[in-house]
Subunit: 251 residues, 2 copies
Amino acid sequence: MTANITPTDPGEKTLLERYNPDRFPRHSLAVDVAALSTFDGDLWALIIQRQSHPFREIMALPGGFIGLDESLGQAAARILDRETGLKNVFLEQLYTFGDPGRDPRTRIIAVAYYALIDWERMQHLKSQGHPMPLRLSVPWAGVSGGPVQILDQEGNLLPLAFDHAEILGMAVKRIRGKLDYVPIGFQLLPSCFSLRQLQEVHETILNQKLNKDSFRRRMLASGLLKATGELEEDVDHRPAELYRFTRKSAI
Amino acid sequence: MTANITPTDPGEKTLLERYNPDRFPRHSLAVDVAALSTFDGDLWALIIQRQSHPFREIMALPGGFIGLDESLGQAAARILDRETGLKNVFLEQLYTFGDPGRDPRTRIIAVAYYALIDWERMQHLKSQGHPMPLRLSVPWAGVSGGPVQILDQEGNLLPLAFDHAEILGMAVKRIRGKLDYVPIGFQLLPSCFSLRQLQEVHETILNQKLNKDSFRRRMLASGLLKATGELEEDVDHRPAELYRFTRKSAI
DNA sequence: AAAATAGTGTCTATGAGACACTATAGT
DNA sequence: ACTATAGTGTCTCATAGACACTATTTT
């Protein structure tokens, strides 16, 4: 559009140069990351123990403030890298939590992301310090949603800081719903896997047993799996063939 | 947790009182609303023509800055009310757009919401001035996603300001995906409607013809429709029975 | 009566679940 | 040989699509 300069319109260029962001309220913006994995029939989340107030010593999701020149996804990847040393992780925006009062310090809006990490990588976290995977307890079925709790090694419920139980719940709800039409299961497996492993991932996410025959047929008919010809090793029964995902569909 | 005060820990209360939000970068946060309706076999979106720079005179979604003490959903409802006078509208968070550079003034993060409004209400907007429904042209099938264009009365493509074509595209993708498992169709209809009207809404959203028999069976089997006993009027053929949605499932 | 759509009944094709059977590893 | 799981073939059942038919309004 032509920027005609008139007495009432000083022109776009001038206005942009004169623009004062402080004419409108400014907010603190953070990213929280729900990094999920599957193991032993349960979902696990990467949790840290807070070192400072508020919620000092309480369990929380990794998070941090968003820099002025990084995109939201970059901020999430940076924070996940800082906590785990992992790069190139499946990471997707989840929801933005902005209720006034969700943080007792001041109003902080959190753009939540979720990540899917296979258990093998989850075991080799760079910073062996605070972050650790903790088992989830999902107190609802299907995709009804709601907060999700975390358990310590003895199976005791641990409280979560801020609204992080809601964020985790939203992440579980999202991947349950998404699993029906997007093959995200392989994000939680090594690059080579058996159909049984894939089925166990699905069963863990959905928290329900699936029919073996029908699951095999669906997966093989999807055209997204490629047989490698290799076989499982070190199992005390007939070894299964290993498959790879053909990542033709953009994730 | 007991707030033990030690030489290295001044206590939670003190820290919260001393908290300085300016220790971290602060951002401009806005809400943009994609208000959708269906009519004449197409999706329509509520569009305004910008009165000021940047993108002066270009078409855009209604939006505004988020107040310091309102929730994100409240901000979206306030802005939709300001533009349309409509209250109690189906409104749901869509995605947060935060790429640096998406707004030429300064970095502005936009939490996008989408609304579903039945065509009847769309015709009686309070402020007869700027906001108007414009027809959408969706250049992709299914839920592949991508930007969506708007058409003027003559069917010419109009440019959209900022990343609003992407926001609209995300909204269309979302409702297409959601329609398969959540009955959102009735949000685009008056409270009483025929099965044919409902099918037309589905066909418009999905942009594909549906099988009449199977659609009827699915809808009636869902248990979400209640026959009213009333019939259509002023149609030049056998009148259809009218139904209501039983909103037992929380939307 | 003609036109147009509403609504019902039935056949068929497809896909999921169930089950039986064979195959192949370790012990 | 025994056990455990992999993998195949087949039957059944539920649901979607197709189609034929009847019903009810306006013109």
